[in-house]
């Protein structure tokens, strides 16, 4: 599993304050802690409070780059914010994200190519959030064909089926899981699949348990990557164990430690 740590996000008070006061240490500590606990990549998001996200994302990227070369996911719905982050990040970057709308795809796919970045494609469009499996697949196909048209390899594409909170869209959970499997057979080479995990438990009273159960099930459906909290030890333990059961890693008594050393 490609673990993308979600904690460098201006929606958290500590990061919002660090951005405001240009406190490098808080951001760098958050980056290193996530990596130590198994993150393969770090999401970078200035958050809703940032008044000048084009400048703030650049600062965040530069500060994190001082301590790690790991992949950075530049997280914004605004292409100009993403481009500002791309300029600062160097190599190992994923753009997070484009929707299935052509005007966005036509902006962001060329950017991904120009900066040799991966691209997360949300199966969502200006018409709204998909309501079932078929709508998700249709939006995924739109994204994949735009990539093909612009000669962007689907190996570098991460499709997100859009995880809804279980207390809002309980009837859609099975469709979301099945979409993960269907996305893999949409093209050759297969696109990768990713979810923003914590959305599934938004507004519920058992967030960690719901996150971890959904993730375990999604792993069984072939999920490649997840944006999650790597400091949630029970969550990462469950993830490692799910992959062990699918024979992706060799068992030994210290398999949890062994995985985190990779």
């Amino acid at each position: 599993m490609f673990i993308i740590g979600e904690l460098i996000n201006g929606m958290y008070a500590n990061i919002a304050a660090a951005i405001k006061e240009k406190d490098k240490a808080v951001v760098q500590k958050c980056a290193l802690e996530q990596i130590k606990n198994g993150a393969d990549a770090l999401d970078i998001n200035c958050g809703p409070a940032s008044k000048q996200p084009v400048i703030d994302i650049q600062w965040l990227v530069e500060v994190v780059r001082e301590v790690t070369d790991k992949t950075l996911c530049l997280d914004s719905s605004k292409p100009q914010v993403i481009e500002s982050g791309l300029k600062a990040a160097g190599s190992n970057i994923i753009i997070n994200s484009t929707t299935a709308d052509l005007e966005k795809l036509n902006l962001l796919i060329p950017l991904a190519k120009k900066y040799n970045a991966g691209l997360i494609g949300l199966t969502i469009s200006a018409k709204g959030i998909p309501q079932n499996r078929d709508q998700r697949l249709e939006l995924a196909a739109t994204i994949v064909s735009a990539c093909a048209d612009q000669d962007f390899s689907t190996e570098n594409l991460f499709l997100d089926p859009i995880v809804m909170p279980v207390n809002v869209a309980q009837a859609q959970m099975r469709d979301i899981l099945e979409s993960i499997r269907e996305f893999k057979i949409i093209s050759e080479p297969s696109p990768k699949t990713v979810v923003g995990l914590s959305n599934v438990s938004q507004g519920t009273s058992a967030r960690n348990l719901i996150n971890r159960t959904f993730l375990t099930m999604a792993v069984a459906y072939g999920l490649d990557a997840a944006i999650l909290d790597p400091l949630d030890k029970d969550l990462v333990d469950a993830l490692i164990t799910a992959e062990l059961i699918l024979n992706k890693n060799i068992y030994c008594d210290s398999y949890l430690d062994a995985y985190r050393r990779k």
Binding site: N249, I250, Y251, C252, D253, D257, A258, K262
Partner: protein, 306 residues
């Protein structure tokens, strides 16, 4: 239609382990592969596997006549035996088995074994592998003394097991040696033991796995599948099983009754067991009959395209 050969892209790499110091015989390196055995079209294979000559501290009275005939009187004196390996058969490395330290096989003292090991190392300067008798308590007394006597020579010392690894690991750590981690044809224990040893501070780059092998006709295929599985995981990025393999080919092959039917058949049995293990990923072959070693050496040269 042109058939495209399937080429695998691997993300992992086998650890490279160096044995020997910068003496006249130099250093031998094993491991470092970026692909499965001898698949040169897929990735780099920087180091060739090699065969080490197994010699004992005491006269191996139980060895079959075929082996005794090959070595003659030299079996009674480790220095004469090593001399024959080095001068007559151009050995690349020696593997000294301290069988005589076993309480039931002579009970030689730690001091005597340390003196013998350092004497051989000093005289011949070859990269050395040293193996205990397999008696846990005695090994824990003998091997640290041997390790200290060989300090700085960058030897390979074994064998650590899951329930007896701490003393030997500490000794290798202190004296700059690499360690052999032995597991009983069990991939889960092999992985666990590598983690336990590296937890004590000995880096994974100083561990060689003895997966335990059977001879041709005696469970070789189990060892083969364990080695293959470990290699596939290692090349896919699992560093905890990305160690080179050592296989005690002579020990196993000469146990087989087929090896004792005739001299020629014994040599072939040992050489064929080695050849199969090379395909499984063996990096170091510890062997007993000089004619078998000669055949295997040529075979390795052919496989490496030399």
């Amino acid at each position: 239609m042109v058939l495209q050969p399937a080429v695998e892209k691997w993300s992992g790499k086998i650890a490279e382990v160096a044995i020997g110091n910068a003496g006249p015989a130099g250093i031998i390196k094993v491991g470092g592969q970026e692909t499965l055995p001898f698949l040169f079209s897929e990735g780099k294979i920087p180091n060739a596997p090699f065969a080490a000559f197994e010699i004992w501290d005491v006269n191996p009275a139980d060895w079959p006549q075929e082996l005794k005939t090959a070595w003659g009187e030299s079996l009674k004196d480790p220095f004469a035996w090593a001399e024959a390996c080095v001068n007559k058969y151009k050995a690349q490395a020696l593997c000294l088995r301290l069988a005589g330290s076993h309480p039931d096989y002579g009970n030689r003292s730690a001091a005597d074994e340390a003196k013998l090991a350092s004497g051989l190392a000093q005289k011949f300067g070859l990269p050395m592998i040293v193996i205990g008798s397999g008696d846990k308590e005695k090994d824990n007394a003998v091997l640290p003394a041997v390790s200290e006597a060989l300090k700085g020579r960058q030897c390979l010392i074994g064998c650590a097991t899951q329930d007896n690894y701490k003393t030997l690991t500490a000794a290798c750590l202190a004296d700059g040696h690499s360690i052999i981690a032995e597991s009983p044809i069990d991939i889960n224990i092999a992985k666990q033991l590598n983690i336990l040893i590296s937890d004590m501070g000995l880096p994974l780059e100083r561990i060689v796995i003895d997966p335990t092998t059977g001879a041709l006709g005696y469970g070789l295929e189990y060892a083969y599948s364990i080695m293959e599985r470990a290699r596939l995981a290692a090349l896919s990025g699992d560093k905890t099983v990305a160690s080179p393999f050592i296989c005690f080919v002579g020990l196993e092959a000469w146990k087989a009754k087929e090896a004792k039917v005739s001299l020629e058949q014994g040599i072939i049995w040992e050489a064929m067991t080695a050849a199969a293990l090379l395909q499984a990923g063996a990096d170091i072959l510890v062997m007993r009959h000089p004619a078998a070693i000669e055949k295997v050496k040529k075979h390795i040269e052919n496989l490496m395209g030399k």
